[in-house]
């Protein structure tokens, strides 16, 4: 076999069953790739001993029973936002330095129980707040893709380490989380597939909370088939998360027929932004043409409240974050500031949080505090929740009119250079303009690599589906993937 770390999940699964390779061999190939890729900054905590131990157990399981789960023996990376038992889990924040949970998040636990092999914890934006992986206490994660002779590029964020690791073949797949686009935007920037499931599909238990009504975990993979396999392994009801849906998870892989004849694909006119790069506009119309050629009906639709999605998001997400992050007080876990003589408990809170949180996290916690404070609650928070209802209604109406899925660009640009001077925080927020509506409406969305820009950088298109219909969404994505035939890989420089 060729380089084992470059296999897809489906290829590795089949090879394991044919006895052509072992989980240990797959894992060793990934560990070697990880050790030679420190320049990418993708892996924040390496777990080689644990990985080999789990790989050996997976091999035993594969030999003992033929019906081992599909993920058995598959090396995966886990975003640092997931609590993993006995392994550092610090959400890329200084305030959780040294934190080793005594428990395993439901989603990483499901993967572990299925026999998947965690090779390390992956870099991300601090508390998942960012779109470039530049707010991490570990330093930047870097995109394996580069423009010709160009500077280091962002892999996107917040799941930047996950995207970089999967694109650079450091693991076969990775977990991500998506609050406003944090799976789909980095997937698009690195030429991989990223699925954000319907809100409630994946349990949030044990995932460090950012904005609880928006957060959702999902798979980041090389192919749509892999997203179907890994996604199904991550989903399912969990009594420990009250918003987890008690619904059966279908066999998504079995639904990948590629037959989308008669499906109605909506093209929302509000997503055609002023100043959209030519390459993005062309990618979008090419993608629509591909789906049309596959037998789908392309229909122009309107989602009139789209322009209010980002402002609503930047009320709701910080408001929820300010509540969720109140727990970081220097008492129960993580960092506590050194105190001066005479300092009381208030000084302990204030110094601990000032030292432990990075600038973007502080900004969002304080904005959240402001919009929830007496006198502003109605003007900001309640108003944003009303706008959120309208944004969801736009989608509900489109689906009621017969639209099966909606096609948009994933991002307004290709990956941009790291270290750009950003004086206005709002400029960075605009990265999420096409993805954030999906979180506000609780819908499933997937980014599929479809083409490259003039500099050879990957570009993705997003498909948005009806709630709970990830199977149909994945099948449409599968048809798009097949038609686009994106196979390019970044040239190795690291």
């Amino acid at each position: 076999m060729g380089d084992l770390n470059k296999l897809t999940i489906a290829e590795a699964r089949d090879a394991l069953r044919k006895g052509e390779t072992t989980a240990v061999a797959l894992t060793e190939a990934c560990l070697k790739a990880i050790d030679s890729a420190d320049a990418l900054g993708a892996v924040a905590h390496k777990t080689p001993d644990l990985a080999l131990e789990r790989a050996r157990a997976a091999d035993e399981r594969l030999q003992a029973r033929e019906e081992a789960p599909a993920m058995c023996g598959i090396p995966v990376g886990i975003k640092d936002l997931f609590c993993t038992e006995g392994v550092p889990s610090q959400a890329a924040s200084k305030i959780l330095e040294g934190f080793r949970p005594d428990y395993e998040s439901t989603v990483s636990g499901k993967l572990k129980d299925a026999g998947a092999v965690m090779v390390g914890k992956l870099n991300m934006d601090e508390f998942a707040m960012g779109s470039s992986n530049e707010t991490s206490v570990y330093g930047n994660a870097i995109n394996p893709w580069k423009a010709e002779g160009g500077a280091a590029l962002t892999p996107g964020g917040s799941s930047g380490g996950s995207a970089s690791a999967v694109a650079a073949d450091l693991c076969l797949a990775a977990t991500g989380t998506d609050t406003g686009g944090s799976i789909r935007q980095p997937a698009a920037f690195t030429g991989i597939v990223g699925l954000k499931p319907t809100y409630g599909r994946c349990s949030r238990w044990g995932i460090v909370a950012f904005a609880s009504s928006l957060d959702q975990a999902g798979p980041m993979t090389r192919t749509v088939r892999d997203a179907a396999i890994m996604g199904a392994a991550m989903m399912g009801h969990d009594p420990k998360d009250s918003t987890s849906a008690d619904m059966a998870v279908p066999d998504f892989e079995a639904m990948l027929t590629g037959d989308i004849r008669g499906k109605v694909i909506g093209i929302p006119k509000e997503y055609r932004m002023d100043g959209m790069p030519v390459a993005i506009g062309k990618l979008w119309s090419d993608g629509a043409e591909m789906l049309k050629d596959a037998g789908a009906e392309i229909r122009d639709i309107s989602l009139p409240h789209t322009r209010y999605a980002l402002p609503a998001y930047y009320v709701i997400a910080p408001a929820e974050a300010s509540s969720n992050l109140a727990r970081y007080d220097g008492v129960r876990f993580g960092h506590r500031a050194a105190l001066a003589p005479g300092d009381g408990i208030t000084e302990m809170y204030e110094k601990t949080r000032a030292e432990g949180f990075g600038d973007e996290v502080k900004r969002r916690v304080m904005i959240g505090t402001y919009v929830l404070s007496a006198g502003f609650y109605d003007a900001y928070y309640n108003r944003a929740r009303k706008v959120r209802a309208l944004i969801k209604r736009d989608f509900d109406e489109a689906f009621a009119a017969g639209v099966d899925s909606i096609l948009t660009p994933t991002t307004p640009s290709a990956a941009f250079a790291l270290g750009r001077e950003v004086s206005d925080p709002v400029e960075m927020y605009l990265n999420d303009v096409f993805t954030v509506t999906v979180n506000l409406a609780g819908l499933p969305g997937i980014s599929v690599p479809v083409g490259r820009d003039g500099q050879g950088l990957p570009l993705g298109l997003q498909l948005i589906g009806r709630p709970w219909e990830e199977g149909a969404l994945l099948n449409t994505a599968y048809a798009l993937e097949g038609a686009a035939g994106f196979v390019a890989k970044p040239a190795k420089w690291w």
Binding site: Y308, Y314, M366, G442
Partner: protein, 95 residues
């Protein structure tokens, strides 16, 4: 709506994040940029819209009111910056 230095200081206090006086003007400027962006929400007429409470209509599940967990004092305290005699230790709270 414009945030002055005094308001920025008050918000920092409410959020229990220490901000040095010399950093307050920049912070107030950033708040104003973000709030200016959020201000677009005021353009919509939404008086007759109910605020969203749950993105997917679902009833919270019920379960029997019984103890399902506990007796893990050591695990609960394992990550504490300062734990003594089975308790979290903090600076003196009551004078």
């Amino acid at each position: 709506m414009s945030i002055d230095i005094e308001t920025a200081a008050r918000v920092a206090k409410l959020a229990r994040i220490k901000v040095e006086d010399e950093d307050l003007p920049v912070l107030a400027g950033e708040f104003n940029a973000i709030l200016g962006f959020i201000e677009q929400l005021q353009q919509l007429d939404i008086d007759d819209v109910d605020p969203m409470t749950s993105v997917t209509p679902m009833r919270l599940k019920r379960r029997a009111d019984v103890v399902t967990d506990g007796n893990q004092q050591a695990k609960v305290l394992a990550n504490a910056p300062d734990a003594r005699e089975g308790f979290f230790a903090v600076p003196k709270v009551v004078e």
